[in-house]
């Protein structure tokens, strides 16, 4: 019994290793086309998220869409250089709480799920974005 369960666990872990695509994150996200789709899904999620929607009341959505796509392209190793304002500048007066940050993370996870992004690619993007947490949170 114990051996069987241990074997199943090892098998599950090794199948994770197999799924771990070695392609650059930018390609795993579907390059610029895929990233734009993720950002569009994210905007859709935000539009129904009462917790974070108020943060976007003064946002130029068209600019946000293009700058966020560019930024994700940049941090995922794609051929872009983020040309927008720094994270500190853009979030300075928004007083973003942890709760709102978490909610946005979950919106992004749902957006990536909708676009069938693999779990390792999802986690890798979240990891790179999470580094910005100190600059974003109030």
């Amino acid at each position: 019994m114990r051996e069987t369960i241990l074997f199943c666990l090892l098998f599950a872990i090794s199948s994770c290793a197999h799924l771990n695509n070695q392609a650059p994150l930018y390609n795993q996200l579907g390059e610029m086309e895929g990233i734009t789709k993720i950002v569009d899904s994210l905007l859709h999620e935000i539009s129904t998220d009462a917790k974070v929607l108020p943060l976007f009341s003064n946002t130029n959505i068209k600019r946000f869409r293009s700058k966020l796509s560019e930024q994700i392209c940049d941090i995922s190793g794609g051929p872009c250089e983020y040309s927008g304002d720094t994270m500190e500048e853009t979030h300075r007066n928004l007083n973003i709480t942890r709760n709102q940050f978490n909610s946005l993370v979950e919106d992004l996870i749902r957006a990536m799920e909708k676009n069938s992004i693999s779990v390792p690619a999802q986690n890798e993007l979240l990891k790179r974005l999470a580094k910005m947490y100190p600059d974003i949170k109030h």
Binding site: R2, L9, L19, T97, E106, N123, K127, K137
Partner: protein
Amino acid sequence: MQFRLLSLSSILLTFFCSISFADSKILATSAATSLEGSAGGGIVPWAIISGYGDTGEIGGNFSFTTVNVNDFRLDVTSFNLGFGNRLELSYSHHDLHVEPLNLNIRQDIYGLKYKLIGDLIYNNIPQISAGIQYKHNKDSLIPDLLGANDNSGTDYYLSASKLWLAGLFGRNVLANTTLRYTAANQIGLLGFGENGNDDYQLVGETSIGIFLNPHWLIGAEYRQKPDRLDTVKEDHWKDIFIGWFPNKTVSFVLAYSDLGDIAGLPDQSGLYLSIQLGL
């Protein structure tokens, strides 16, 4: 009397209606409920505060757990509340059925946990919490016969928990280490201390898990145990588990636990099943 009851219940109702039972924490970061009622894995408490409430919110869980090993069945009912992702209060009731003797040993555990520093995900410092568990054994016949000193005792513990995004094979990895200062024999089910002495000891506990995706967590736990009673042997506990978090209101943990020698009956191992309902 009736009036007082009525006003008390309306105060309670107002209290519960005014706080927000919220869902601000990320899925599965409420943890499961450990055997002693604190947010944790199966047998180890974690630094995580129970429920999905974050700053300014309240969260919590009801949970029902049953552990079936060769000669014992332990049924556990627990309730915990997390306040502002900072403070956790818990209550847990244990009912251990000793099959060879056809009798039960019952125990109540009241817990308090406070987050001291750090963050589970967004900080280089892991989340570190300190906690206490006051345990009261209600059926001290067997503990007394085996030489336990007391029917109640308090455990003190310090836990550190950390989630690494894309930590291993692109999967998120959750690790926890707990240091516990305890006088309990078999977590209190066989009483506390031995022969006129509390005999507090420091023990280490650890859990490690990997999220296959946001809903499924597999892992293993190890809990060091004191072995202070002369009459019977006490072994370290271990388990391997799989946790399923389909959404923020319900979660399940299935584990295979190896609890070793309990009260003179060797090789106690079997299945652990826990259902957790979020507030």
